[in-house]
């Protein structure tokens, strides 16, 4: 059996290699001919069925063409029809289909019996899950069950999860991993504009003169978009400024690299505004007509204690109070705090303040995974608001998304504890709308949010949650302060269901594992950073008994008596889900494209109004939802955006005598998140086989550590031994270390701190205190 399997597999791989080369040749040399008998059984472009799909990986949302032959995905190329990437991919995208075929792909359910996971049938597993959910609810109440999903859920997955848990069972215990990646971006949008998601689009890149990257290693994290910046620099001599806490490939490519001390982006943003005001670069007319000033609470805490609660309070402020507030942020006053010279701050301010410059600010995890993440989002919006550089082509504060559908699923469908597909659970009118569309009694949908992600895992640890279903995410690698929450999930009388495609540290602790259909093995939609919804057909059959997350949820719902909420046939259920979901977003502010159009096109942006995509929101010239002839920030009752007076506040944990280094975590180009897919793609795994710790060369010298040697890193929560990387891919500043989190054998989140932004509840993965020692073991 093993011999036959290996022979068949090797034959398939050789065929794949041959096909790849023949396809590459036919792309590079049009009209090329190979001898028929030699290519028999191989497949070149004429005999491959190419179909569109968004890429499986990041929030850029590149359009791909997947080559399918003989029921297998054999090739990938960029979709030239996609306005996102225009035919270009990054190294992950080009190898994406290989993630479907690793040897240890989960194909059958597993149930833990007598401590060991054993193969079971799908019916057995689904029956057990529904029995367990029912008995947990009967014995402990509705809020004892929870689902933790993902920004890699497709839109139908998230919609069904929300309807099942909130509309059916009647619990708001619905969270997704976008809480730990994008929540601060969401609260930044909502507190400044009253509506989520960027007002601009990727086309801003073609118009901007200056790009300021705020704590974002865009060259590795959003590589195809970064290529578009570089392309513009070749064509139009634009400027790229890298404002970051460490030196990366982005820094190397930028026109200017400015390093700052962790957390002090808050002070820098205010200081830029100070300079803009001082030099008379404010757009007074814009401010007067389209903005108001607000202040909120300060000293708002860090959420490290269980049951931490915080509610902000917005107070009216004035332009004069704002100017007075900014006095504390004179560039000369904050040089020591930030590590940035007054000269550099003034330079940044001049770029924003120059009326002839169109400026695009771009950011992602550096600003979002931040204990004042909401505040720093507000403060970067402030810069654009006081200069009036917003909602016009090229003038764009742009919050980039990490995951392929954090926008489409988690934010737009609303798979967070407080959210509904339209609005929030706390608003009766929003609950009424959901109840009407879902055809459930209004009282089914609870009016109070329960737990955000960190608190949900705390509740699991405490025993307030007994049952958790985890889909398409890997929290046993990604949750901060991991030791506590892993131990909590493994406690007696907890029941954990995990839906995934490969074994991971999260499936390791599961009571039931369900094999999931992956990506193009099922139909679905993703929504990317620029409000573009992209549809993909089912191109392949999933292996074994693997089933889509959508159908897994529906099957369990049926077994629990909620089948009437999901009355659709398997053949057309995705279309039906989309049609129903669309009802939540009708109107000019958030209209979404019809299903038939999504099937045809390489993505359609929303708002989609009268057959047209809205590229720039809140500007009447481009946005039909605007009232009046000018700007209208219609998410706010009076149509005015809020300029917030948000101060600098220190992080939750800073280096001290015992733990003298900052620990920063993040990603590398080659690996997606926890590596469960990309580490199974041989060429990507070979490129970066293991995680490592980056040190500054002078720190390494002081600690007597050389490149490649073993280093022990310890925090108040855990310790880890890993290999030092000095002057290789990236270089942290002195007093900092950087560790990528893709390696499940090196769990850096055992060291990180579960402090979060009190407003967004998003944890800070970029700042905690560690000590670093040469390891002698």
């Amino acid at each position: 059996m093993t011999f036959t399997y290996r022979q068949s597999r090797r034959y398939f791989i050789k065929k794949l290699a041959r096909s790849s080369a023949l396809i590459a040749a036919s792309t590079m040399f049009p009209g090329i001919i190979f001898p028929h008998d030699q290519v028999e059984g191989a497949h070149i472009s004429g005999s491959i069925n190419w179909q569109k799909s968004p890429c499986r990986f990041c929030g850029v949302g590149c359009g791909l063409l997947i080559g399918v032959s003989g029921g297998k995905a054999v090739a990938v190329k960029g979709d030239p029809a996609s306005p996102v990437n225009k035919g270009l991919c990054c190294v992950k995208g080009y190898h994406s289909v290989m993630a479907l075929y690793a040897e240890d792909r989960l194909t059958h359910p597993m149930i833990r019996r007598n401590g060991k996971l054993k193969r079971a049938t799908m019916n057995e597993a689904l029956d057990l899950i529904s029995q367990k959910m029912k008995s947990t609810i009967e014995n402990h109440g509705k809020d004892a069950v929870a689902i933790y999903g993902s920004g890699q859920w497709t839109i139908p997955d998230g919609y069904v999860a929300s309807k099942f848990f909130k509309g059916g069972i009647g619990t708001n215990n619905v969270e997704a991993n976008a809480r730990i990646c994008m929540a601060s971006a969401v609260t930044g949008f909502l507190t400044t504009f009253g509506m989520d998601e960027p007002m601009g689009c990727y086309e801003d890149i073609d118009h901007a003169d200056v790009f300021v990257l705020w704590g974002n290693n865009m060259a590795e994290m959003h590589p195809v978009l970064f290529s578009r910046l570089l392309d513009q620099r070749l064509k139009r001599n634009v400027k790229i400024i890298d404002l970051a806490t460490r030196t990366t490939r982005t820094s190397a490519a930028a026109d200017r690299s400015i390093l700052f001390h962790p957390q002090t982006d808050l002070a820098i943003a205010n200081s830029i505004c100070y300079e803009i005001v001082k030099n008379g670069w404010m757009n007074s007319n814009f401010i007067q007509n389209h903005c108001v000033f607000k202040s909120g609470k300060t000293n708002i805490g860090y959420g490290t204690e269980d049951h931490f609660a915080f509610n902000d309070e917005a107070k009216n402020s004035t332009l004069e109070e704002y100017k007075s507030f900014l006095e504390d942020y004179r560039p000369e006053n904050i040089e020591e705090l930030t590590g940035v010279s007054a000269k550099d701050i003034k330079y940044l301010a001049s770029l924003y303040g120059d009326p002839n410059n169109k400026v695009m600010s771009l950011w992602c995890m550096g600003m979002n995974q931040h204990t004042r993440g909401t505040w720093i989002n507000n403060l970067v919006y402030n810069i654009h608001l006081i200069t009036g550089k917003i909602s016009t082509p090229g003038n764009s504060p742009f919050s980039l998304t990490g995951q392929p559908s954090a926008c489409g699923t988690v934010r737009e469908v609303g798979t967070l504890t407080h959210k509904l597909p339209h609005g929030v659970v706390m608003n009766e009118a929003h609950r009424k709308k959901a109840a009407e569309i879902w055809q459930v009694p209004l009282e089914n949908i609870p009016s109070k949010p329960t737990y955000h992600t960190v608190e949900m895992f705390r509740a699991l640890d405490r025993g307030d949650i007994k049952f958790m279903w985890i889909q398409v995410t890997n929290p046993m690698v990604t949750i901060p302060n991991l030791n506590r929450y892993r131990d909590g999930a493994k406690k007696e009388d907890r029941f954990i269901v995990v839906s995934d495609v490969y074994p991971t540290p999260t499936t390791d602790i599961a009571d039931v594992i369900l094999p999931a259909a992956m990506w193009i093995e099922r139909e679905g939609m993703y929504g990317n950073s620029e409000r573009r919804t992209q549809h993909f057909d089912q191109l392949l059959q999933p292996p074994g008994e693997a089933l889509s997350d959508t159908l897994q949820l529906i099957e369990v719902a049926k077994r629990m008596g909620y089948g009437h909420l999901f009355p659709w046939d398997r053949e057309n259920h995705i279309e039906k889900i989309w049609d129903e979901y669309s009802k939540f977003h009708e109107g000019e502010k958030h209209g979404i494209a019809p299903y038939t159009l999504l099937k045809q096109r390489s993505g359609v942006q929303w708002p989609y109004v009268n057959g047209k995509e809205t590229k720039w929101r809140f500007n009447a010239k481009y946005d039909p939802a605007c009232k009046g002839g000018s700007f209208d920030f219609y998410g706010k009752p009076d149509g005015k955006a809020w300029i917030w007076l948000r101060p600098y506040e220190a992080p939750a944990e800073s280096p001290d005598n015992n733990y003298p280094f900052w620990l920063n975590t993040g990603r590398v180009l080659e690996h997606w998140h926890t590596g469960s897919m990309t580490r199974r793609i041989p060429v990507l795994h070979k490129a970066v086989p293991h995680s490592y710790v980056e040190l500054h060369p002078e720190d390494a010298l002081t600690l007597n550590i050389r490149n490649g040697e073993k280093v022990k890193i310890s925090s108040r929560r855990g310790e880890i031994v890993m290999t030092a990387s000095i002057d290789e891919r990236g270089q942290p500043s002195r007093g900092q270390v950087f560790v990528p989190f893709f390696d499940e054998s090196l769990l850096i989140n055992e060291l990180t701190l579960d402090a979060f932004c009190p407003i967004s509840k998003e944890p800070d993965y970029k700042k905690c205190a560690v000590k670093v020692e040469r390891y002698h073991g």
Partner: protein, 93 residues
């Protein structure tokens, strides 16, 4: 396959013997395509598919381990008849 077997695959993934399979596009020097084909076809771990109408040869290599793969590549790359070789895909088994 039970779960222990899955985990065994994961745990040995890094350690197991790699048996690389790779494919390349080879561009011969001017008017040396036939000579290059002849030389490549003598290499036992190489399968070649020369184009009928362009100076391009597809090469698929299949070696038992990384060392042999590296040696084979060096051998091919050093051929006088070869102008350019580019890797298209690489797999471990």
């Amino acid at each position: 396959m039970d779960y222990a077997h899955y985990k065994a695959i994961v745990n040995t993934r890094l350690k197991k013997t790699r048996m690389p399979i790779k494919s390349y596009l080879a561009i011969p020097r001017e008017q040396q395509k036939t000579e290059l084909e002849n030389v490549l076809s003598t290499l036992p771990e190489c399968e070649i598919i020369p184009s009928e109408n362009k100076d391009v040869i597809v090469i698929v290599t299949d070696t038992p381990n990384e060392k042999d793969d590296s040696l084979l590549f060096k051998k091919i790359n050093s051929l006088d008849q070869l102008d350019l070789i580019t890797l298209v895909s690489a797999f471990d088994n």
